[in-house]
C-alpha cells in the first residue's frame, strides 16, 4: 500500500497518480446490477442505436465512482473525500481504455481541517475528456500525525 500523503506534501499543480480503467460490457452489466440502473443503452447495442448512440456507453455514475476512486486511492487511508462534482460532457464506448487523471488546484485550511481541491477527469485514448469534475478531500497534517 502507498504511503499516506500529508497536507504539507501537496502542492498546487501536482498531478496525482492516474488510474487506468477498461470498462468492458461485462463491467457495465456488473454496475447495472450493483446500482439497479438497468437502462438498456448500457448493454443492448440495438437499443443504444435506436437512441441515437453509436453503441452501448459507459454509465455516467460509474465514471463518477472512478473519479472518487482516483482521489481515495491517493489520499487513503487517512484522507476523507468531502465533495465530488462532475459534468458528463461526452459518452464513452465500452471495451476501450479509459484514463482517470487528477491535478491539485488548491489547498486551504478551514477551521481545523486541511482541505485539498483537485480537478479530476476521464480521458479517452485520443485524449478527449469525457467527464470533468472537481473534488475536495480532507488530508491529515504531519503536525498532528
Amino acid at each position: 500500500m502507498a504511503q499516506q500523503v500529508y497536507f504539507e506534501d501537496v502542492a498546487q499543480g501536482q498531478e496525482i497518480p492516474a488510474l487506468r480503467k477498461h470498462p468492458t460490457r461485462r463491467q457495465l452489466v456488473m454496475w447495472a446490477g450493483a446500482s439497479e440502473d438497468f437502462y438498456e443503452i448500457h448493454y443492448d447495442t440495438e437499443f443504444a442505436r435506436a437512441n441515437q448512440l453509436g453503441d452501448v456507453i459507459v454509465h455516467g455514475r460509474l465514471k463518477a465512482a472512478f473519479l472518487g476512486q482516483i482521489v481515495t486511492d491517493w489520499s487513503s487511508p487517512g484522507g476523507v473525500l468531502r465533495k465530488l462534482s462532475c459534468r458528463y460532457k461526452g459518452t464513452d464506448p465500452a471495451n476501450e481504455d479509459m484514463l482517470i487523471r487528477g491535478v491539485v488546484t488548491g489547498k486551504r485550511v478551514e477551521g481545523v481541517e486541511q482541505l485539498v481541491d483537485l480537478e479530476v477527469w476521464s480521458e479517452r485514448p485520443d485524449g478527449t475528456k469525457t467527464t470533468v469534475g472537481a473534488a475536495t478531500v480532507c488530508l491529515p497534517a504531519k503536525a498532528s500525525a
Binding site: 450493483a34 438498456e40 437512441n51 455514475r61 463518477a64 476512486q69 465533495k83 458528463y88
Partner: protein, 158 residues
C-alpha cells in the same frame, strides 16, 4: 406514456413536491457488488479493523451514487428515474452533471433514507431537438437522523 406529451408547465407543477422516501439497508453484499463493479480494490473498504470502519465497514463515498436512484422496476419503466412518482416528459435520458457532498460516513448495517425532489425544470433546443433539463436534489440520512450526503443531479431528457 400518455398521448399528449407533458409540457414544461406540467413538469413545473412537480417542482419541490415531496416524494415518497427511498429506503436502503446497507448490506455487506451490496457494498461487495459495488466494489467489484468499480474494480476498487482499496483494502480500506474491506478491512474490518481499518480506522474509518471502527468495527463496521465503510464503503467508498461514491457508494452514495447508488443510494438515491429509484428502483428500475416495471413501475418506473426502462429508465432509472430519480423520483419514481414524477414522470419523465420524453423517452430518452442522458446524464448532465452531478454533485455529491459527504457529511458523515455510511456504514454497513445502516439504514439510509433518501428524500429526492425535482428542484428545477428548463426547456432547451439542442442538437437532439427539444430537451428538458431536469435537476433533482437529494438528502440522505441514516437511522440516527444524521445527514450523510447531499446531492444534485441534472439530466437531459429528450
Amino acid at each position: 406514456m400518455s398521448e399528449t406529451k407533458p409540457t414544461i408547465e406540467d413538469m413545473q407543477a412537480y417542482v419541490n413536491v415531496e416524494a415518497p422516501p427511498h429506503v436502503l439497508h446497507i448490506e455487506k453484499e451490496l457494498v461487495r457488488r459495488f466494489l467489484e463493479a468499480v474494480q476498487d480494490r482499496n483494502p480500506l473498504w474491506t478491512d474490518e479493523a481499518a480506522p474509518a470502519g471502527a468495527g463496521s465497514l465503510v464503503p467508498p463515498q461514491l457508494f452514495c451514487a447508488i443510494m438515491t436512484i429509484a428502483r428500475c422496476s416495471s413501475e418506473t419503466g426502462k429508465i432509472p428515474v430519480p423520483v419514481a412518482t414524477i414522470p419523465l416528459p420524453r423517452r430518452n435520458v442522458l446524464e448532465g452533471e452531478e454533485t455529491w457532498e459527504f457529511f458523515a460516513p455510511v456504514r454497513v448495517g445502516d439504514t439510509i433514507t433518501s428524500h429526492t425532489r425535482l428542484s428545477d425544470v428548463k426547456l432547451r433546443e439542442g442538437r437532439l431537438g427539444e430537451m428538458f433539463i431536469l435537476t433533482y436534489v437529494a438528502e440522505s440520512v441514516n437511522q440516527r437522523g444524521e445527514l450523510v450526503a447531499r446531492s444534485s443531479n441534472t439530466i437531459v431528457n429528450y
